[in-house]
C-alpha cells in the first residue's frame, strides 16, 4: 500500500503535470513493485486527512513489540482539489496497483495542446497512476482541478515527518522552477547519523524525450548523474503526443477505429547513471534499457527492462506483464558474471472484485453479484459489438455510459468503475523459497493491508513475519 502522503505527493505531481516516471530511477519500477512490495510488520494504524486542498496531515501508530509512530504534514502550493482523499473513495488501484502504464511524453511542454482530454488525462495518470483504461477518460475528478501554467510552474511542496520515539526527522521540499525543471531537497536528521543528518539534493530536468537528473548528497559527498532517453513509439514521431491522445480518445470512445496499432506498439528507453563519492573516493555506474508498451497498444501490456552494471558485472533482467486486467505478473533474473551468483524472483498480483469476507461484514452478496452480472452483461454486449478491437476496454463502455448519466463531479465514474475491485492479493517467491503474501483491500471505509512472509526452508516455523496495516483518511 502506498502511504497516504505518497499518494498526495503523486496527486501533486499530477496536478502540476510532472511526469515522475520519466527518469532512469523508475526504469524497472513496475517489476520492482510487483516483486519487492513491502510487507507490513506488526500492527500499524494510519490516520490521514487532506484537511484543505493545500494541507494534509497523517498520523501513524505502530507496534512491533515497542510502540512507535510518526506525525507528518504536507503543504502544497497547488490546491489539490478534487483529489479523492477519503479512504472510502480513494481509487484502490491508485493506492495498490503495481503495474504502471507509461505516461504521455511531453505533455507539459505545450500548454494549449490537448484541451479536450490532455491535461485531465495526464493528471488522472499521475494520481490514479494505474487506473487501467483510465487513460483516455474524459475530464476527471482525481487530478481534479487544472492548474494554470503560472501556478504550476512555481508550485512547491513541503513535507515533514517526525518519527517518535527515535526523534528522526524527515523533510522534503519540491520546488518547480519551470515546466521542465524541478528541484527536490530531502533531508534526514537523526542523532545516530554522522554529522547528525544528511541532505540530498536532486535537480530534475524532464524534456519529455529525455530526462536528466543530477544529485548531490552530503553523505560522503556523493555526486551523481542519471539520464533517460526515449525513442521509438510516441517518442519517435514529432507529433507523438497528439497521436497518443487521439488514439486514447478514439479507443476510449471505442469508435472502432481500424487497428493501425495491430503490431506491438511501445516505447524504448535507454539510460544510465554514474555516481562518485568525492569523500570516500568510490563510485558506481549502470546502464539500462527498457521496452514498454504504450497505453495505445492493443495487445497485452508488458514491460521489459535490462540493466547492466559493467563495473560489478551484474546483469538484471525484469519482465512484467499485465496478463489480464485483474492479473499481472513479473519475473526478475539477476546474474553476476564475476562471481557467478544468480538470483531470481517472481511476483504477481491478483485483483478481486469480491468483497473481502463479505458475509461476515454483512454486505449483501446478492446485490454485489447482481451488479457484477449486470456489468458483465453490458460488457459482453459491448465487446460483442466492438469485437476484437481492444480486448482491455471491457469496462470502458460501462464507465462511458455511467459517465454520460452522471455529470462529471466529485462522485466520478472512475471511482465507480474502480469500485468493482475490492481487494488485491499480491504474492512473490524468490530463490531462497521465501514467499511473501499480501492481501490488501477495503472494508467499509478502512483500507487494510495484511501480509505475511513465509520461509519454505523452515517448515516447522514457516511464518517469519506477520503484519496488519490499517488506513483511514478523510
Amino acid at each position: 500500500m502506498r502511504e497516504f502522503m505518497h499518494y498526495i505527493t503523486n496527486a501533486f505531481y499530477g496536478a502540476t503535470e510532472w511526469n515522475e516516471d520519466n527518469t532512469y530511477k523508475e526504469l524497472n519500477a513496475t517489476a520492482r513493485e510487483l516483486i519487492d512490495f513491502p510487507l507490513p510488520l506488526g500492527l500499524r494504524v494510519n490516520l490521514a486527512s487532506l484537511a484543505t486542498p493545500h494541507f494534509a496531515t497523517s498520523y501513524q501508530l505502530g507496534t512491533v513489540g515497542i510502540v512507535d509512530g510518526s506525525i507528518s504534514y504536507l503543504y502544497s502550493s497547488v490546491a489539490l482539489r478534487g483529489v479523492a482523499a477519503q479512504s472510502d473513495r480513494i481509487p484502490l488501484p491508485a493506492l495498490l496497483r503495481s503495474f504502471r502504464r507509461l505516461h504521455d511524453l511531453g505533455s507539459r511542454g505545450d500548454e494549449a495542446a490537448p484541451n479536450a482530454g490532455g491535461p485531465g488525462a495526464s493528471a488522472s495518470h499521475a494520481v490514479s497512476i494505474d487506473t487501467d483504461g483510465g487513460v483516455g477518460l474524459a475530464p476527471t475528478h482525481v487530478g481534479g482541478n487544472k492548474v494554470t501554467g503560472r501556478d504550476r510552474d512555481k508550485s512547491s511542496l513541503l513535507y515533514g515527518r517526525l518519527y517518535l520515539p527515535q526523534s528522526l526527522l524527515e523533510g522534503l521540499v519540491v520546488k518547480r522552477f519551470s515546466p521542465v525543471l524541478q528541484v527536490q531537497l530531502s533531508a534526514v536528521s537523526e542523532q545516530s547519523l554522522r554529522n547528525g543528518g544528511t541532505l540530498l539534493g536532486l535537480i530534475q530536468y524532464d524534456k519529455g524525450k529525455f530526462g536528466v537528473e543530477g544529485l548531490a548528497s552530503t553523505d560522503g559527498g556523493l555526486l551523481g548523474v542519471r539520464g533517460l532517453y526515449n525513442l521509438g513509439g510516441d517518442a519517435s514521431s514529432p507529433g507523438a503526443t497528439p497521436t497518443a491522445c487521439s488514439t486514447n480518445e478514439s479507443s476510449s470512445s471505442s469508435s472502432g477505429q481500424s487497428g493501425e496499432r495491430e503490431r506491438i506498439y511501445g516505447r524504448f528507453s535507454v539510460g544510465g547513471e554514474v555516481y562518485y563519492g568525492t569523500l570516500n573516493k568510490s563510485g558506481g555506474m549502470s546502464l539500462g534499457a527498457r521496452f514498454a508498451t504504450l497505453p495505445a497498444h492493443r495487445g497485452t501490456p508488458l514491460t521489459a527492462a535490462l540493466t547492466i552494471n559493467p563495473l560489478m558485472g551484474n546483469i538484471n533482467a525484469t519482465y512484467a506483464i499485465l496478463a489480464k486486467e485483474y492479473c499481472s505478473m513479473a519475473t526478475r533474473m539477476e546474474f553476476n558474471v564475476y562471481s557467478y551468483e544468480s538470483d531470481w524472483a517472481v511476483g504477481m498480483e491478483l485483483w478481486s472484485n469480491r468483497r473481502p469476507a463479505g458475509f461476515l461484514l454483512g454486505v449483501d452478496p446478492n446485490r454485489q453479484r447482481e451488479e457484477v452480472a449486470q456489468k458483465l452483461a453490458k460488457t459482453n454486449e459491448r465487446s460483442f459489438q466492438a469485437k476484437m478491437e481492444w480486448r482491455l476496454d471491457g469496462p470502458e463502455p460501462t464507465t462511458a455510459a455511467e459517465e454520460a448519466k452522471v455529470p462529471a463531479g466529485q462522485d466520478t465514474p472512475g471511482v465507480t468503475k474502480e469500485e468493482e475491485y475490492l481487494g488485491v492479493l499480491k504474492a512473490r517467491l524468490d530463490q531462497n523459497l521465501r514467499i511473501g503474501l499480501l492481501w490488501e483491500g477495503r472494508v467499509k471505509s478502512l483500507i487494510f493491508s495484511l501480509g505475511t512472509g513465509v520461509d519454505l526452508h523452515k517448515l516447522d516455523e514457516p511464518f517469519r513475519s506477520l503484519g496488519l496495516e490499517i488506513q483511514y483518511s478523510s
Binding site: 530511477k25 524527515e170 534526514v188 540530498l200 553523505d219 542519471r226 539500462g288 560489478m312 558485472g313 551468483e341
Partner: protein
C-alpha cells in the same frame, strides 16, 4: 623454582584445535559486523605452531595447589598462523547505501548491485610482546589479561595481495581488529576453554563426558570406610592417575570437584526448599568441623571466600613479612588494591570467624607452600642444573609486594629441611635481606609501621587459637601445632629485628617436619612428575604422617 610449560601437548590434542576454532568463530561473529562483510567469519585453520613463547616470570602473587596468580612477560615470534574465511561486498556503493536512511538515499537503479567476493585471510608471523596477568583457580578457571597492547606486528596475506591498496587497508584494519580481539575477546576465550578443561561441570557438554569417566572411578572409592574417604580417596589417587592419565592430565583434576559440587548443590538446594530430605554427603566434610587431617581435600569445594581464608597464614605465620608486603605494595604501586583488600578481609575474618578455620587454613597454606617449594626444588635438582636460575627468579620477586608472605616461609622451611640446624638463622637472614632489597624508603618505613599492624593479629588470634589447638586437633596436628605457635609467637616476640637465636625445641620440631616434608615430596615426585598435576594430588600430610 621451575615452571614446565608444555607447548606441544596443546597441539597434540586435535580436539583442542577444534574447540579453539569453534570458540574463535563464535567470538568473531558475536559483535555486529561492518556492512562490507556479508557472511559469517569462519576460522578454517588455526595452528599454534611449534615455537613456544618466551615467558619471563615477573611476579607470583599467589601460589597453591588449586590456584595461581602471577605476572609474566611474554615474547612471542613463532610460526603460529590463523586462516579466516568470509565474504565481502566489493561494491562500495552498496555498502555506502546500507547504512544510510532510505529517505535521502539517491536510490540508484543498478549501480549498487552487489558483488560478493570470497575472502581468505591468513595471519602469520605474529609477534607479540606483552605483560600478562594470569589468575588460575580451579573453580573459576584460568583468567588471562594483557596489561598492555600485546601485538607488535603481524603479516596479513589475503586473496587481494596483488592489489596494494587493498592489502594495506586489510593490514591496517586487521591489526586494529586483532588488538581488540587480544584485549577483549581472548581472555574470554581462554577462560571458557579453561572452564571446559578444569571445570567441566560448568560446561554442560563437557561435564557429561567426564562424569562418565568419573563414576566408575568414584564407586570403588566409595566402598572403603566412610570416614576415611578423603584420605583414601587420595590414597587411591596414584592408581587413578596412572589409569586416567592416558586421556589427558586435566581430566583427572575434575573428578573430585565435579562430584562433590553436584552433591553440594543438592544440599544447598535442599536448604532452599522445604524438602525434608537432606542429602548425605559421603565424600566431603565441612571445613569448620574437619580436623587438619581432612583439610587437604577441602580444596575442591571451597566457598567463594577461599582467597581470604587462605591468606591468613601469611598474616600470622610471619607478621613482619606481612607488614613488609603491605608497605612494599604501597610503595611500588603494583597490585595495591589487592593486598590491602586482602588484609582487610584477614582482619575481619580473624576477629569474627572461628579461629579454627583461620588456623586450619593457615596451616594448610603453609604446608602447601612448602610442598610446592620442595617439589619444584626437587624437580629442579633432579631435572637439570637450573637451580641457579630458579633461585634467581625467586630472589627477584621477593621484592614484589604480594609475594613475600609465602616466599618468606617457603625458603625458610626449605632450609630447615636441608640444613636443620641453621634454619632459624636463615630465616632471619632472609628477612633482613628482604628488607634490604627494597628501596631505602621501604626499609625505613618498616619499623615504623610494623608495630602497629603487628598488634592486631597477635592479640586477636593467639588466644583464640590456643584452645582450638588443644581441643580438637588430631594427633598429627598436635605434633605440629605447637611448632607453629611457638615459632610464631617467638617470631612475633622477636620481630624481624630480634637477634635472639632459635629455641632448641623448635629445632627439634623443625627437624621432624622437615623429615616429613622430604618424605612426602619424595613420594609425590615418584608418583607424578608433572607440575600441575602435582598441585592437585598432594596427599594429605596427616595421612602421610600416620
Amino acid at each position: 623454582m621451575a615452571f614446565n610449560f608444555n607447548w606441544s601437548p596443546l597441539t597434540a590434542d586435535e580436539r583442542f584445535y577444534e574447540r579453539a576454532r569453534d570458540l574463535l568463530t563464535t567470538a568473531l561473529n558475536k559483535s555486529p559486523k561492518p556492512p562490507i562483510i556479508v557472511d559469517d567469519i569462519f576460522v578454517t585453520e588455526f595452528n599454534l605452531g611449534s615455537v613456544p613463547p618466551d615467558l619471563e616470570i615477573l611476579e607470583i602473587g599467589d601460589l597453591a595447589e588449586d590456584r595461581f596468580r602471577g605476572i609474566f612477560k611474554m615474547c612471542y615470534s613463532g610460526d603460529a598462523f590463523l586462516t579466516l574465511k568470509t565474504r565481502v561486498q566489493a561494491n562500495p556503493l552498496n555498502t555506502y547505501l546500507s547504512a544510510k536512511p532510505s529517505f535521502t538515499s539517491p536510490q540508484p537503479l543498478a549501480a549498487a548491485s552487489s558483488l560478493t567476493i570470497p575472502l581468505q585471510i591468513t595471519l602469520s608471523e605474529i609477534k607479540l610482546s606483552a605483560f600478562i596477568i594470569v589468575v588460575f583457580s580451579k573453580q573459576k578457571g584460568l583468567t588471562l589479561v594483557f596489561r598492555n597492547d600485546p601485538l607488535e606486528s603481524l603479516k596479513v596475506s589475503s586473496t587481494f595481495d596483488s592489489i596494494q591498496f587493498v592489502r594495506d587497508y586489510l593490514q591496517r584494519t586487521i591489526e586494529v581488529k586483532l588488538r581488540d580481539l587480544m584485549m577483549d575477546e581472548l581472555p574470554a576465550i581462554i577462560h571458557r576453554l579453561s572452564l571446559q578443561l578444569w571445570c567441566p561441570d560448568q560446561v554442560l557438554k563437557e561435564g557429561d563426558e567426564s562424569k562418565e569417566e568419573s563414576d566408575p572411578v568414584q564407586n570403588p572409592l566409595g566402598s572403603p570406610p566412610l570416614d576415611a574417604i578423603d584420605a583414601s580417596g587420595h590414597l587411591l589417587d596414584p592408581t587413578e592417575i596412572s589409569s586416567l592419565s592416558l586421556d589427558g592430565g586435566p581430566g583427572t583434576q575434575s573428578l573430585f570437584s565435579q562430584k562433590s559440587i553436584i552433591q553440594l548443590t543438592s544440599l544447598n538446594g535442599s536448604n532452599h526448599t522445604s524438602c525434608l530430605f537432606t542429602r548425605e554427603l559421603h565424600n566431603s566434610m565441612l571445613r569448620a568441623w574437619a580436623g587438619p587431617s581432612d583439610r587437604v581435600d577441602a580444596s575442591p569445594t571451597p566457598p567463594l571466600a577461599t582467597p581470604s581464608l587462605s591468606r591468613p597464614p601469611s598474616y600470622y605465620g610471619s607478621t613482619h613479612t606481612y607488614t613488609f608486603s603491605d608497605i612494599g605494595s604501597q610503595d611500588t604501586g603494583l597490585l595495591t588494591s589487592r593486598p590491602s583488600s586482602v588484609n582487610l578481609s584477614h582482619a575481619t575474618a580473624g576477629l569474627s570467624l572461628g579461629s579454627g578455620r583461620h588456623h586450619k587454613a593457615g596451616r594448610k597454606k603453609k604446608t602447601r607452600v612448602v610442598n610446592l617449594r620442595r617439589k619444584t626444588g626437587s624437580e629442579v635438582s633432579s631435572e637439570a642444573g637450573e637451580a641457579v636460575s630458579d633461585s634467581t627468579s625467586v630472589q627477584g620477586p621477593m621484592s614484589e609486594p604480594a609475594m613475600p608472605t609465602s616466599l618468606l616461609e617457603v625458603p625458610r622451611e626449605d632450609e630447615m629441611a636441608v640444613l636443620a640446624g641453621s634454619g632459624p638463622s636463615r630465616v632471619r637472614f632472609r628477612g633482613s635481606s628482604d628488607i634490604a632489597q627494597p628501596t631505602p624508603m621501604q626499609s625505613a618505613d618498616t619499623p615504623i609501621v610494623s608495630p602497629n599492624s603487628r598488634d592486631v593479629p597477635i592479640t586477636s588470634q593467639l588466644p583464640l587459637r590456643l584452645p582450638q589447638d588443644a581441643g580438637d586437633r588430631g594427633k598429627a596436628v598436635e605434633t605440629r601445632e605447637p611448632i607453629l605457635v611457638d615459632s610464631k609467637s617467638q617470631r612475633s616476640r622477636g620481630g624481624p629485628q630480634s637477634d635472639t637465636s632459635s629455641v632448641i625445641l623448635e629445632q627439634a620440631w623443625i627437624m621432624k617436619m622437615a623429615g616429613e616434608i622430604a618424605r612426602r615430596v619424595y613420594d609425590e615426585k615418584n608418583r607424578n612428575p608433572a607440575f600441575w598435576e602435582d598441585r592437585d594430588d598432594t596427599p594429605p600430610p596427616a595421612y602421610e604422617a600416620r
